[in-house]
Amino acid sequence: MAEESFLADDFIRQLMSVGEVDLLVGIPSYNNASTIAQTLHSVEESLRQNFVRERAVILNVDGGSGDETRQVFEQSSERREAGHKGLTSLRTIHRISCMYDRSPSQGVALRSIVAAADLLRARACAVISPATTNLTPAWIANLLRPVYREGLDFVAPLYVRSRFQGLLARDLLYPMSRAVFGQRIRELYSDEWGFSGRLASQCLEQDVWREEAVRTRPEAWMAVLAGSAGLKCGQYFLGPKTVSPSATGPDIVDAIRQTVGSFFWCMESNQPYWMGRSNSPAISTFGPEHELSADGIPPSQEKMFDLFRSGVNELEPILASILTPDTHAQIKAIALSDRAKFRFAAELWVKTLYEFAASYHHAVLNRDHLVQALVPLYRGRVYSFLLENANSSPETMEAQSEILCQEFERQKPYLLERWTGKN
């Protein structure tokens, strides 16, 4: 009940009319009129099939859509699968829709969802993206069930990935979060995840909702908070994921600003938690832990290398203020190397990232600028990865990914040294 004050009166009135629930499914939306009806039907189908006795509510939180997303959500008729003979829900599945703001923000949307979960005393919650076009009823059940029945507090999804997609997650976010926070959550940044009512209450108590990192990508913060509070985290394999063509996701610059910026902020605000951790125990994983598909062709690489080289050259004074002279010299040296023989070694990549994180902590320059300065270096690393793995099998790539994770863990003392030392 602590955070009800920021909720609109009408929204609170709708929540009060529902009463307490066991399950809550939140659907943050922004101009998703074309896909939200399908999402809603999948959620309802899942609740009818898998949670027959449970009280449930589906909550749409909208960021000011201009395409009648809310109307579609509210007016979409309940659809029962033809020929479905199994159990169906014994209770009414409630639907609520509200507009949290006139501009979209994942953080504000999540805040409305966790506040509603807290108010309705929901035991298990899931956040579902209406941009996902191949959402099945099983997905929702797989995110809710580990929380509701197995007692987990945070459930991240696992997806099938093409060999050359999701490189930011595979080459930076997962290995670094595993080494730093000791959490083996592969999809720290995703549009679907599950969480417990207990975690929702803890989130509400935090005074971080105005932070940019939480406003843009709150899911990683939630996972780190769960870990730091000693709550149980897990992940569930959902299969391949496709998104609506209108939701292409952020470009590389925005993706790095949002995810790496949020990741560094999580490091900054959770220092006591991660600085003492030296291992990364396995977490509950349902289904395969990873699955790379062999399809996909390597994307064009020429421009990527040019952008890396020009970035290292043009941003020299900025990089000099972030990196140690030795690391900076190594990066300048590889930028001069022949593009066919170019290698951005894992050791140098890890060292570079740890120095960026430490410089973020010491605020050697504006933090958003610092994160943006990482973009050309990331391009260099991706170029090197594509050169090395153009013909590699998924198994080989997974093995390399594991080696990179171990390199991050091996160099963690260096991060601590840079972090605690004076800049």
Binding site: G166, L167, K303, E314, I318, P376
Partner: protein
């Protein structure tokens, strides 16, 4: 004749003694004012330094990139610079008050003019500081955006932004102090106008292909082939 000379010397000596008798107390008052000013200025400097340490101004200055320029100019940190500026402005104020107590004819008017200028000088320093910080921040933001988007000549863009903001800050500071007001406004208008005119010519003639491409990309139906990067997430 001899007596007249002696009388004149006596008169001069008497005037001198009288002048000294009148001047010495004033000199002492002036010295006291200067000393009190020194103490007050020192106290103000210490208080300001403590306040700025608490507000972490140095960190902000470091983040905005202003500290790098101070180091390049062999200047102390931002906290130290502002607290020392306050010290000198305060002490100079007291010294001017002290000098005015001396009652030297003709100096009074000049001193009161100088005294009136002190707050304006302080405001001008502040304007320059804000201009420096803004110029560094915006030019760096432009540099990063241009480099990451792969635009040509990102440094030129960054330096152009820095130059325009500096020119604006310097002209505003000089305007505040009241130095050759008309000249400053005219000079700024000429420099700024010439700069914009140069850019217009450069874009229109030198970069006509780029301009055409830009217009086609944004207004025309023909879309440029987009550089596709692998999906990061």
């Amino acid at each position: 004749m001899k007596e007249v000379i002696i009388q004149g010397l006596r008169q001069a000596y008497s005037n001198l003694v009288h002048m000294f008798a009148e001047f010495l107390p004033r000199l002492l008052v002036m010295l006291v004012i200067v000393l009190v000013g020194l103490v007050v200025a020192y106290l103000l400097k210490t208080i300001l330094r403590a306040v700025l340490h608490v507000t972490r101004l140095d960190r902000l200055s470091e983040e905005a990139g202003a500290s790098r320029f101070l180091r390049m100019a062999a200047l102390p940190s931002m906290t130290e610079l502002l607290s020392r500026s306050l010290f000198w402005v305060t002490w100079c104020g007291f010294i001017l008050i002290g000098i005015s107590v001396l009652g030297v004819a003709g100096l009074q008017e000049q001193i009161s003019r100088l005294f009136l200028l002190l707050p304006a000088i302080f405001v001008a320093i502040l304007i320059l500081f804000v201009g420096l910080v803004t110029a560094n921040f915006l030019s760096r933001a432009a540099l990063l955006a241009a480099v990451n988007a792969g635009y040509p000549s990102p440094k030129l863009l960054s330096w152009s932004i820095r130059f325009v903001i500096w020119a604006l800050a310097v002209s505003m500071a000089l305007e505040q102090v009241g130095v050759a007001r008309q000249t400053v406004i005219a000079a700024f208008s000429i420099v700024f106008g010439a700069f914009m005119f140069g850019l217009a010519i450069a874009f229109g003639l030198g970069g006509k292909d780029l301009a055409r491409e830009f217009l086609e990309r944004n207004l025309g139906e023909k879309k440029r082939e987009k550089y596709e990067e692998p999906q990061p997430l």
